[in-house]
Symmetry: C2
Amino acid sequence: MSQLVIVGTVAFDAIETPFGKTDKILGGAATYIGLSAAQYHADGALVSVVGGDFPSEYLELLVSRGMDTSGIEIIKEGKTFFWAGKYHNDMNTRDTLATELNVLADFNPVVPENYRDAAVVLLGNLHPAVQSSVLDQMAEPKLVILDTMNFWMEHTWDALVAVMNRVDVISINDEEARQLTGEYSLVRAAQKIQEMGPKYVIIKKGEHGALLFHKDEVFFAPALPLEEVFDPTGAGDTFAGGFAGFLAQTQDYSFDNMKKAIVHGSALASFCVEKFGTERLQSLTRQELYGRLQQFKQLTQFDIELH
Amino acid sequence: MSQLVIVGTVAFDAIETPFGKTDKILGGAATYIGLSAAQYHADGALVSVVGGDFPSEYLELLVSRGMDTSGIEIIKEGKTFFWAGKYHNDMNTRDTLATELNVLADFNPVVPENYRDAAVVLLGNLHPAVQSSVLDQMAEPKLVILDTMNFWMEHTWDALVAVMNRVDVISINDEEARQLTGEYSLVRAAQKIQEMGPKYVIIKKGEHGALLFHKDEVFFAPALPLEEVFDPTGAGDTFAGGFAGFLAQTQDYSFDNMKKAIVHGSALASFCVEKFGTERLQSLTRQELYGRLQQFKQLTQFDIELH
């Protein structure tokens, strides 16, 4: 079984949407990525940091879903990273109400020895220098996937450019792709990003789906049209987790297989938004995932004879 | 050969985009629809009105592409409908600089006798009472497609509801679907619209593609990712023209065939935006269309084994 290393935040979130609000619940990019990647036959390990206030039940949940948590450092005297946000009525925009870095401020990720020759590495959204330090510890991964956001473009440009040059795939949203390149056209933005290092560029468009670019090839997967998006938190991370998990399972890193991985990621993200936080992912079965993949086929597949 | 009746504006447009501006050029919904539908083996007729100032070359162009123009009334002492608009840098929003209704103000469409038993009718964006008056003249069309916009929702609600109840397919954009139903979710909006009459609901999302809803089924076609959108004018009409033209040619009005029609419409719209106004459509060949349909296949088709 192929190995997958996931680095990112494990956190508390407090979320408010038009449908309700939560107290501090389980959150963090690596949590969503891990719960999503857990759908696949890959040996996944989370690399993160939490405080002494982090409930052991949450760690046990991750273990029960098949994730190795030995790379999650517990700083007993510290507090876990906390984020609070409130979504607007359109669910596409949100205000951050609180960001308490706590133990994340001095996060020094250590990849467990037995995962240093993993095939796939997913660098969740973090300081790009921290992402680089993870790559320094890896032997020779077959595929490195980078997630990042506008904050690092604005504050740590050089470190971001450095880590981008070391990865195979980058996953960012449309506005970030435009900000990163100064190009409004996503086709041009993807070309410029490929010149910066990543040979494969995923541009996430939220409810409008995701694009995968590689040289002259492009693939598009829509988001599943849903009656209601209950809570968008973690959808992008869930998408990335499905993408990475599927590739780690299949051990085929071709463009054609990445198309399938994008569809798997989109299907998983469509579950994520149905309930608050990680709730829906916690109980998700492979059977349910297959049912939704079938829906994606019906949504997108057509048969045109060209004569 | 199956017949197709297209009613809508034939007009002068003056367009300004970040790439340049035009003087008065050929425009109007029926013009785009007709040039697009002309790609298909159907006997298409335009029903519209122009003034004595409308160049005969423009009418000859439409005839040369295979459109019957006997239903375009020429009011010699009148002036042709004129619209001027300026697009913002994002190309998704525009300001209307001028709207001179002229002969359109008293448009009383007359369907030529030899087209009154046409199989397919496309009611381009017009006053809904005018759209209804066209249906009054038709024998028993197999498929009626309605295009409309927010202006009629705000000013002629009762007439709009009346014509909606007489059509099979409605084509509107996402914001209009929300305005029409009061539902933010497009899935719910499409359900409510089906209760108002149209059994098939197309929701256009511009650069984000188009959705087709029918009962519990949904199909999605993306817009082709382009390096540059030069001029979005007429893209929605071109889409509708391809949709209607393909269905008139194939004479198969099933959901499965409508999927293909949506892809054809999307492919044609992707040409429309490449040059100012109707320029690209005027020279478009079936060969070029097939090439682009192939690109749509590559963009969207994947093969997932569900085991």
